[in-house]
């Protein structure tokens, strides 16, 4: 380990920010999936699963925009 204390603290901040961004992504999945995905389920998903769910959300949003119907 050859980092200075400042470098270590900067890296800790980067990791903290990444974790916050990551949690936000999980909360968004739960919100957009309208309760069909619980927070517990979201925490157990793999990166590929989250990517697939994100695609479903995007498709639903696009459909909503095109049809003018409420988001389902």
């Amino acid at each position: 380990m050859t980092w200075t204390t400042d470098q270590i603290l900067a890296e800790v901040k980067v990791l903290d920010d990444q974790v916050k961004g990551f949690k936000q992504e999980l909360f968004k999945i739960c919100w957009y999936m309208r309760g069909s995905v619980t927070l517990n389920d979201a925490y157990l998903m793999s990166a590929e699963d989250r990517e697939l769910v994100a695609e479903i959300i995007k498709e639903n949003l696009d459909t909503t925009k095109k049809s003018g119907m409420p988001f389902f």
């Binding site: 380990m1 890296e11 800790v12 980067v14 990791l15 990444q18 974790v19 990551f22 949690k23 999980l26 517990n40 389920d41 979201a42 925490y43 157990l44 998903m45 793999s46 990166a47 590929e48 699963d49 989250r50």
Partner: protein
Amino acid sequence: MSENPLKGYFRQPKIYLTLPSQAKYYPPGTVELTETGELPVYPMTATDEIAIKTPDALLNGQSTVDVIQSCIPAIKNAWHMPNLDLDAILIAIRIATYGEMMEVETKVPNIGEERTYEVDLRQILDGLVSNEFEETVQIDNLLVHIAPMTYQQFTKNALKTFEEQRIFSLVDNDNITEEEKIARFNKSFKKLTALTVGMVTDSISAIETDEQTVNDPTHIKEFLDNADKKFYNTIVKHIEAQKEKFSIKPLVVNCEPEDIENGAPESYEVPIIFDQSNFFAQGS
């Protein structure tokens, strides 16, 4: 909230891994192999990805252990795995989670331009798995048996070394006298030397003489404290050679003709360094 009964269905193994150690050196009950001797590797969950980004747990090794046990449930206690399996296990988890390719960023020597290359982690993994750990070394009439360090021993030593290096850097302080600096430096230096000797001692599992086999750690330590320099250096050299075998070789990059015209070499080596920013991050 009760545990979701469907939890077991969330993930499926993405790849199967053959351990570089061939599952030797694991204490009984710490690993369960399939019929083929391989281990199923599952992708990381969001919980695992957060664990791998928790600084304190990363430093003391707990994150690594938790993630390994989550993604390779066949490893029951990752603290006891031989350290030579660590890189292969982490690469396998990386492949299972984000796929086989990983981007490596580098600057072209002499011209300083940034380039991004893709590394096939499968090839790196195959290179690690095909190596064999040589567990004996003959020194005169003694046959020394070497065992790879466990992840627990490795982490403990790394933490102690980190602490001592921190003390080392504190010695470089204008507020203390030169005498005090020298005294602290010597104390720290002695501790670091003791750590290195301790690591070598921990690596020796037994010593065979013409008459018997000695595997009592106290006797081995006492012997090493009183052995000549040649014996100690031969052991260190052997351990270093094994470490080198299981280290990841650098990527050799051939430069583009236009870069060569601008002063870049025909080819250069890019070290494959796995850190938080590239190893456990998506986007490659």
